[in-house]
């Protein structure tokens, strides 16, 4: 019996070693040869790849494993390619029922895809969170009709679920933990982020708009029914990346985005910033992009629940530095922080913003607010909630249903 087991073990080991380049070629060939409308079925098992897999110039393809943690595509020891799986210039693609592990760069990158659905997909970097992990887990960029449903992202050194420069986005029923950013919507328009759990990241959910990119003026984002908790992981992003400035203890951070509605979320035990609303100017990064709008406008935060444990906030990241040097909140950190940086061009003679560009915060459980007055060097930090007691028109988005 013992010998038989040993023999089996040897076979298993040998086949795994043998299979490596072979499986790479087999699956890559399938991805190249599959006809439009076809399905690329992946077997159950753990397969190790030394290079990226890619699909391009195809329509209506499904890449289907046998299930999360059943079909595992491991890129541990990858020597070629900047992502695990890459899909480009395609239409109506579904990636489902599989796990991607330990890619050197991003997990799954999809670019220029009209209609991309990730369903039951897990992307993870195994082991403790570390700077050597790849940047993005799920990474659709410049895509239309993005659906991320029932996915999990773990350990990304930038964002676990990252949607960049895309249009028409749904992120739902998903989990992101042990990433620097759990879920990030960047320079994207029309996004629905709901029923997700983002926890034990540095920052739970980010809605960002950055300069120098092809698609600017992101916005029209609804963030609701999410459970965003315990995002207190020390930041491990490599310096230089925008998320490297995110303070640990951040629940939701809105940076230079417009028309964002945040409601019915639970922001629990995010020890530094339950929700932050800031301008790109606060990052003190240079702006040379003339088409870029660095202010957050039309932000509505309502009917959320805020809770945090007693204790000091972080001393790290941009907010950490402010807490430490100028804000002096001690342990009494307001749940919602607004930097108070407004676009001077839009203010009326009384210094008020137009109604539709206001920051409105009301009806949140345990609501507490500070306007940091960063524009005036934090001279008049105000904890008065009255200026934010207003209501905006609900944000309307146009998103697809996938196929």
């Amino acid at each position: 019996m013992k010998q038989y087991v040993l023999f089996l073990f040897t076979c298993l080991f040998a086949s795994n070693v043998w299979a490596q380049t072979d499986v790479q070629k087999r699956y890559q060939t399938q991805l190249i040869m599959v006809d439009d409308g076809g399905v690329v079925d992946l077997d159950a098992g753990t397969f190790t790849f030394s290079g990226s897999l890619s699909l391009q110039d195809k329509k209506k393809i499904t890449i289907r494993g046998k299930g999360v943690d059943k079909t595992i595509l491991s890129f541990k020891g990858q020597t070629d390619g900047a992502e695990g799986l890459r899909v480009s210039n395609a239409e109506n693609i579904i990636i489902e029922n599989l796990t991607i592990q330990d890619s050197k760069g991003d997990g799954i990158k999809t670019m220029n895809v009209k209609g991309i659905t990730f369903r039951n997909v897990k992307v993870e970097w195994t082991g403790p969170p570390k700077a050597e992990n790849g940047g993005y887990g799920l990474y659709p960029v410049q895509c239309d009709n993005v659906i991320i449903d029932n996915c999990t992202a773990i350990g990304a050194s930038d964002a676990g679920i990252y949607v960049g420069q895309s249009r028409g986005i749904v992120v739902k029923n998903s989990k992101a933990y042990h990433n620097v950013a759990g879920i990030e919507i960047e320079n994207s328009r029309n996004a629905e982020v709901f029923d997700n759990e983002a926890y034990e990241n540095t920052g739970g959910i980010l809605v960002f708009d950055l300069p120098d990119l092809v698609q600017k003026q992101g916005g029209n984002v609804r963030v609701y029914n999410n459970y965003v908790h315990d995002n207190n992981l020390p930041n491990f992003a490599p310096e230089g990346n925008i998320v490297a400035g995110v303070s640990d203890g951040t629940g939701l951070l809105i940076l230079a985005a417009s028309n964002v509605e945040v409601f019915n979320n639970r922001f629990i035990n995010n020890q530094s910033v339950g929700t932050g609303i800031i301008s790109y100017l606060l990052t003190e990064r240079p702006i040379t992009d003339k088409g870029y709008y660095p202010f957050s406008t039309g932000i509505s935060i309502h009917d959320n629940v805020y809770e945090r444990k007693p204790g000091p906030p972080t001393t790290r990241g941009r907010f950490g530095k402010m807490f430490h040097s100028v804000l002096k909140f001690d342990q009494d950190i307001p749940h919602i922080l607004y930097d108070g940086i407004t676009d001077p061009a839009t203010l009326d003679k009384n210094g008020n913003m137009p109604a539709d560009k206001r920051i409105c915060i009301r009806n949140n459980k345990n609501q507490s607010i500070a306007n940091l007055d960063a524009a005036q060097g934090f001279q008049h930090v105000s904890r008065d909630a009255a200026p934010f007691d207003c209501q905006l028109e609900p944000v309307k988005t146009t998103v697809g249903n996938g196929r």
Binding site: R26, Q28, G135, S157, Q165
Partner: protein
């Protein structure tokens, strides 16, 4: 057409037993069956010749790379770095056809054109007489539906090259220019990866043969070696190129490592153009980064100067900007070019070694920036 479809179905059938065996982890069968299957898979694309020799581009032994009439060798002033591989390039225009001059972009070759590029490593870079190892011959074929890429991998006997769709990794050994023995992996791209670089607005496109890159001398025959000709002049005489102005009016790319051909800035910019700008341009795959390294770019931020990274991840190397004037060691661009980690390095594909010579040029360029 019907015949082709049928063959595909049959091929799909051949995968099935293979898949179930894989789950049974029977290593040996996997190998045998996959060889059979991959052979069938490449054979399946019946419209495409299986062997390079089937095209008849070369006279006699194809490994000699002696072009037949109508197959014209060409060279670029500053080529793409490919792990120190040497390259032989040829263009075959359709009979009686020519290409129209333009001085800004890659030449717009007519349908029916084939661009041929053979990658090889000399046994000893100091002495060509010691022979060479041909690795692959890549074809870009301009079909009526657009450019198509096909890669032919040379066999160990060096008698012919066979079509390969899924790519491969080989090991190369040679003695470099300094006399040091080298050994490293050499990656042969799969068909998708070809388009990773040859891509403009998601349309497959040639990268190298622009007027400025062709504006240099080439010896067209062994006997004429003493008197190389300017390639543009030659193309004009052979009626391959129409609408060409006087040679003096044609733009000329410097040779990146020859200071006599251009200023430090010009040589650095042309190196970045040919090595990076096929992705890093507003219509290329790296447009998402906002970094444009085309030789025509004039916006300093788009060129990377004091530009923050977007999705560099670990590739930032802990640095804040792509290029910090005067400070190559704080510039992400330098960091990514000297890394060979696939999660950090640039370009993302086709490089296993560090191109120390061009890195020195770029460091000097950034150092001189104010």
């Amino acid at each position: 057409m019907a015949g082709k479809k049928k063959r595909r179905d049959w091929c799909a059938g051949a995968i099935m037993p293979y898949v179930s065996l894989a789950s049974a982890k029977m290593g040996l069968y996997i190998i045998i069956l996959s060889v059979v299957w991959l052979t069938l898979a490449s054979w399946r694309t019946d419209a495409v010749p299986e062997k390079l020799s089937d095209y008849g581009f070369f006279a006699g032994n194809p490994a000699q790379q002696k072009p037949m009439a109508g197959v014209v060798p060409y060279a670029l002033n500053t080529p793409l770095f490919s792990d120190y591989a040497e390259k032989l390039r040829f263009v075959k225009l359709p009979d009686g056809k020519s290409v129209v001059y333009n001085d800004t972009a890659v030449l717009d070759f007519p349908v029916g054109t084939t661009l041929i590029k053979t990658f090889y490593f000399p046994t000893d870079f100091r002495d060509p007489a010691k022979g060479r190892r041909l690795m692959e011959t890549r074809l870009l074929v301009h079909q009526s539906g657009g450019w198509k890429a096909f890669d032919y991998v040379w066999n160990d006997e060096q008698t012919d090259a066979l079509l390969e769709v899924a790519g491969d990794t080989k090991t190369v050994q040679y003695i470099d220019k300094a006399g040091i023995p080298k050994q490293h992996a050499y990656v042969i791209p799969n068909l998708n990866q070809c388009k990773g670089c040859h891509n403009r607005n998601e349309v497959m496109t040639p990268i190298g043969p622009s007027v400025r890159q062709l504006n240099g001398d080439l010896a067209y025959s062994e006997t004429a070696k003493a008197s190389p000709e300017n390639q543009l002049t030659h193309w004009k005489q052979e009626r391959m190129l129409t609408g060409m102005p006087a040679l003096a009016a044609c733009p000329k790319a410097p040779v990146w490592n020859n200071p006599e051909t251009g200023s430090l800035n010009d040589r650095a910019r042309i190196w970045l153009d040919i090595n990076c700008a096929h992705c890093h341009n507003p219509k290329g795959p790296a447009m998402t980064s906002g970094l444009n390294l085309s030789v025509s770019e004039t916006d300093s931020t788009a060129l990377g100067i004091q530009k923050t990274p977007v999705a560099a991840g670990r590739g930032s190397g802990g640095h804040l900007f792509d290029i910090v004037p005067g400070k190559p060691d704080e510039s992400i661009l330098i960091y990514r070019l000297q890394s060979t980690d696939p999660g950090e390095m640039m370009p993302e594909l086709g490089r296993k070694t560090v191109h120390t010579e061009s890195l020195a040029l770029l460091r000097e360029w950034i150092k001189a920036m104010k």
